[in-house]
Symmetry: C2
Subunit: 200 residues, 2 copies
């Protein structure tokens, strides 16, 4: 249901990612697409294994790239998805959605949460001998903990239920510094009919 790829030469229009947009604390497409995969799998939790081909088509994302991401999800310890090979194969969540936190997913896909490597999760005293005199350490550690807390207290099941209340306005008590407006959307060229018809 989503049209959000990066490789869009003609019009350069995407959803979660676009080129040349200067924002901070970015999550790469690995994290974005990987979370999408997990949401899709959660949606089909009780059912036959779901193929990546289907996910790629519905989300309008490149299949070969998703294969790399799902590999990370499968090889994680403990694993997040299980696969069945062959025809009618596909992927399933290896646990129920309420047993999977978003922090787990994001860390598997993107690595530890840290604004910079001297503020990586866990013990930091080994990282930089200067840290005693480094006031900025405290700042980045606080940012890291805020993000980690947000991700670790939300499960995949929580996310599935959180689709309605956000529509009636977020708090939005922070200053809007950006002014992004996109008027059209990328429709991947497919051999058949595109089943997504965005913003006509």
């Amino acid at each position: 249901m989503l049209g959000c790829t990066r490789a869009v030469p003609p019009e350069e229009i995407v959803c979660g990612h676009r080129k040349g947009e200067a924002i901070v604390l970015r999550v790469s497409t690995k994290g974005e697409y990987g979370v999408r995969i997990m949401v899709d799998l959660a949606r089909h939790y009780n059912g036959r294994p779901r193929s990546l081909t289907d996910i790629a088509q519905v989300e309008a994302l490149p299949l070969a790239y998703l294969e790399q991401l799902v590999k990370l999800l499968r090889e994680a310890c403990p694993s997040l998805v299980t696969s069945t090979r062959g025809a009618h194969g596909g992927y399933r969540l290896s646990r129920s959605p309420d047993k999977i936190t978003m922090g787990e997913i994001v860390r598997v896909l993107e690595g530890p949460i840290a604004p910079m490597i001297c503020a990586v999760e866990g013990d930091m005293t080994q990282v930089c001998g200067f840290l005693d005199s480094c006031k900025t350490k405290y700042l980045w550690a606080k940012v890291r903990d805020a993000v980690a807390h947000t991700l670790d207290t939300m499960t995949l099941a929580d996310l599935m239920n959180e689709s309605s209340e956000q529509d009636k306005g977020m708090p939005a008590h922070f200053i809007a510094l950006s002014d992004v407006h996109v008027g059209a959307f990328y429709i991947p060229k497919q051999q058949g009919e595109p089943e997504v018809r965005p913003l006509s």
Copy 2:
């Protein structure tokens, strides 16, 4: 007092940034060095203007690069630093440290806070017409708000006072996923004596 540059070919050792380290929600050197400049200026708040040459030497960062960053701080509206040109010139904070939030600094240096552009600060409804069916929007918006709240509720003055209590152990209730160990540090080759003697 710090040795933390990126361009370190021989040994590849830095503080806040190192190459090839897979972490998520990264802040670039622009943000890191820029915050350092502000901390330095806050430390010298009541005094003669402080030259970038001095800051570059003390922090062991490239002067020409810092010039680009301080330009952002100066041209911001409202401005964060003011400059006086000529000999014995330099920079000063344009406000007292308790009137400057870390959020303001980071946004000036790095742009709006957003894990991805469809979760940029402010109104998001224009960004993606698919968002109704996009569960992941809620996740990234929450991450963004957590970061923004952390940065917006901390002033530069707060950061100056926060050097002691962090030493006696952070909460550290999050899982350590990384295991970063650095044994040595970069000492920039200077013509004279290096006044920083790290970890010897």
